[in-house]
């Protein structure tokens, strides 16, 4: 095989095709009128905008299909302003397309390198200015400037500290402890086990100690969903079964995938859904993941009742709630 490739001729530019307006004066006149009409439409739209703003009462309403009941002045301002800008653009483009010169022009790329004279002159200027600024003689200025500029670069490095400190055990703790009362969210009422019907749910939070205030961070980690089903429907290990109370089971509401609030409970299928990525948990099997991207079941909160029948936590969560993190021990 030979390396020679057959060269083909540069086809050059196609022949210029004249537009009608280039040679027909009537067509050119028509194009001129069209552009003028577009600009006039823009002017009219602006007048309409100003009119709507000043003279149309804000109480005036008009019914439009799909849009429903609308304020006339808002509508006038919006449509007017949109038309004012759109018709200027449209007129300018129509003008350019029909009347402005459209002959193709070849503009060769100029050389990138500056001329030798320019380059020499530039070097000369730098040298001269450095001399007149006395940079060589005034060493104090040179050194302090160096220090100042050098230190400026340090501050972004200091900001890196905001990446820490490490959260330590914070991610593994919630406010739930043995004996914490379950209270309804947001009413804050204690809940009797007998208050909850089969098929019922209550959104709960841990009861606050006197004087304590509920912060968003606490709500975001402590939120629990209480569900009551018929006890015989449970399919739990003996330990997990002992964490329930007469068919009442409690799960952390924070999804083990990305931390959304899992609270879509289908009481017929006993499935809990996460609204963010459709992870589905089976309540009867200790929130086992049956669909979706979640990797772990929702942590179950062990509950029991006090002497008066109010629901309390038997113990805190035995595993970190919410999504995985680097230092999390379990998988």
């Amino acid at each position: 095989m030979t390396n020679s490739v057959e060269r083909f001729q540069d086809p050059g530019l196609p022949a210029h095709i004249h537009r009608k307006a280039d040679f027909d004066e009537r067509a050119a006149k028509r194009a001129e009128r069209q552009v003028a009409i577009l600009f006039l439409l823009s002017a009219l739209s602006t007048v309409g905008t100003i009119y709507s703003y000043i003279f149309v009462k804000s109480s005036a309403k008009v019914y439009l299909p799909i849009m429903g009941e609308q304020q006339v002045n808002n509508l006038g301002i919006g449509i007017g302003l949109a038309g004012a800008l759109f018709f200027i653009g449209m007129g300018a483009i129509h003008w350019a397309k029909t009347l402005m010169d459209d002959t193709e022009v070849v503009a060769e790329r100029h050389e990138f390198r500056s001329s030798d004279e320019d380059r020499a002159e530039f070097v000369e200027t730098i040298k001269e200015r450095a001399g007149t600024a006395q940079l060589g003689r005034r060493s104090l200025i040179k050194k302090t400037l160096g220090l100042a500029v050098g230190l400026v670069g340090l501050s972004p490095l200091v900001l890196l500290r905001d990446l820490g400190p490490l959260p330590k055990k914070q991610l593994e703790q919630t406010s739930w402890k043995a004996g914490t009362y379950l209270v309804s969210d947001p009413m804050g009422r204690r809940i009797k086990a007998a208050d909850l019907e089969v098929g019922g749910v209550v959104q709960v939070l841990p009861e606050l100690a006197p004087g304590q205030e509920r912060t968003l961070e606490n709500t975001g980690t402590d939120a629990v969903l209480l569900i009551r089903i018929r006890p015989e429907e449970f399919n739990l290990s003996p330990e997990r079964l002992s964490w329930t109370h007469e068919g009442i089971i409690a799960f952390s509401k924070i999804c083990s995938h990305m931390g959304c609030a899992v609270a879509l409970y289908e009481q017929q299928t006993k499935h809990l859904l996460c609204p963010c990525h459709q992870s589905t948990f089976d309540v009867t099997r200790a929130a086992k993941v049956i669909f979706g991207p979640a990797a772990r079941p929702l942590p179950q909160l062990a509950i029991t009742v006090d002497n008066e029948g109010y629901l309390i936590a038997k113990q805190g969560f035995t595993e970190p709630i919410g999504p995985s993190f680097w230092e999390r021990n379990s998988a």
């Binding site: 799909i66 309804s184 009413m187 019907e197 019922g200």
Partner: protein
């Protein structure tokens, strides 16, 4: 082409169910004659008659339930009033979810059915709309907080409804009568869990209803509200209509004038 060996039996079963439910629906239609003859009977007996003709094919002759429909013993009159009063029951077909439609039974027949089902076992009673008093007692702000904690995950933050699994969905609450909202909360229809008066007090419920009614009346100040469901419809509009317009303009920009 060979058919599946169960194809025959399945087709026969499907045909039987279709004919059967069509017949039971047709025979349940109110007749003037029926109203006259039952005038002497008690309301419960009348309800039982309607039940046997219109509901028992799925829910069983004694409302004990079957493989395709739940038992109605202990669901109370409120459940019947909600399901039948909103037209959800009887279902039009065996789909995943009974949806709201024109009621099959009139108010009197619905009340009779509710009385019959309530007589089977104690359960939540039909709610008297006058007892809710949401207009007087309802605190809209508190109702909004309660709604966002207890209802918004399924029914959407603006009460517009949302999707569940396998074709099930939480319906929109726009235009739903306060009585039916209340009954839905205490009976937990279909996928919805129960929110009993013991955990969500009547006052809480009045607050929630007041908030839903306020959301119902919310004017769309910004123009078309696009269902108020947020980025889905807005995105759809921008990606189809908006981008379509831009493409149209781009094509016009690039065509040469002749």
């Amino acid at each position: 082409m060979r058919r599946h060996r169960f194809a025959g039996p399945i087709i026969i079963a499907a045909a039987l169910i279709t004919v059967g439910s069509a017949f039971s629906m047709a025979s349940a239609l109110p007749t003037a004659q029926h109203a006259e003859t039952s005038a002497a009977n008690t309301v419960v007996d009348e309800g039982k008659q309607i039940f046997l003709r219109g509901c028992s094919s799925c829910h069983g002759l004694n409302a004990e339930g079957s493989g395709i429909a739940p038992s109605l013993i202990g669901v109370g009159g409120a459940a019947v009033d909600f399901q039948v009063g909103t037209g959800r029951m009887p279902m039009a077909d065996m789909s995943q979810q009974a949806m709201r439609k024109r009621p099959v039974y009139n108010a009197e027949q619905t009340a009779a059915l509710a009385a019959y089902v309530a007589s089977l076992a104690p359960g939540p009673a039909v709610v008297d709309p006058a007892s809710i008093n949401w207009e007087r007692d309802g605190n809209v702000a508190n109702g909004g907080t309660l709604f966002r904690t207890n209802c918004a995950m399924c029914h959407n933050f603006a009460a517009q409804g949302g999707a569940l699994t396998n074709g099930k969905y939480a319906p929109t609450l726009m235009g739903v009568e306060p009585k039916y909202i209340y009954e839905a909360m205490i009976t937990g229809p279909q996928s919805m869990p129960k929110f009993a008066d013991t955990t969500l007090t009547p006052k809480d419920k009045a607050d929630i209803i007041a908030w839903i009614q306020a959301a119902n009346k919310e004017p769309a100040q910004g123009g078309a509200s696009l269902g108020r469901v947020g980025p889905v419809t807005e995105g759809l509009l921008v990606w189809t209509l908006g981008l379509g317009l831009l493409i149209g303009v781009a094509v016009w920009l690039a065509t040469k004038a002749r």
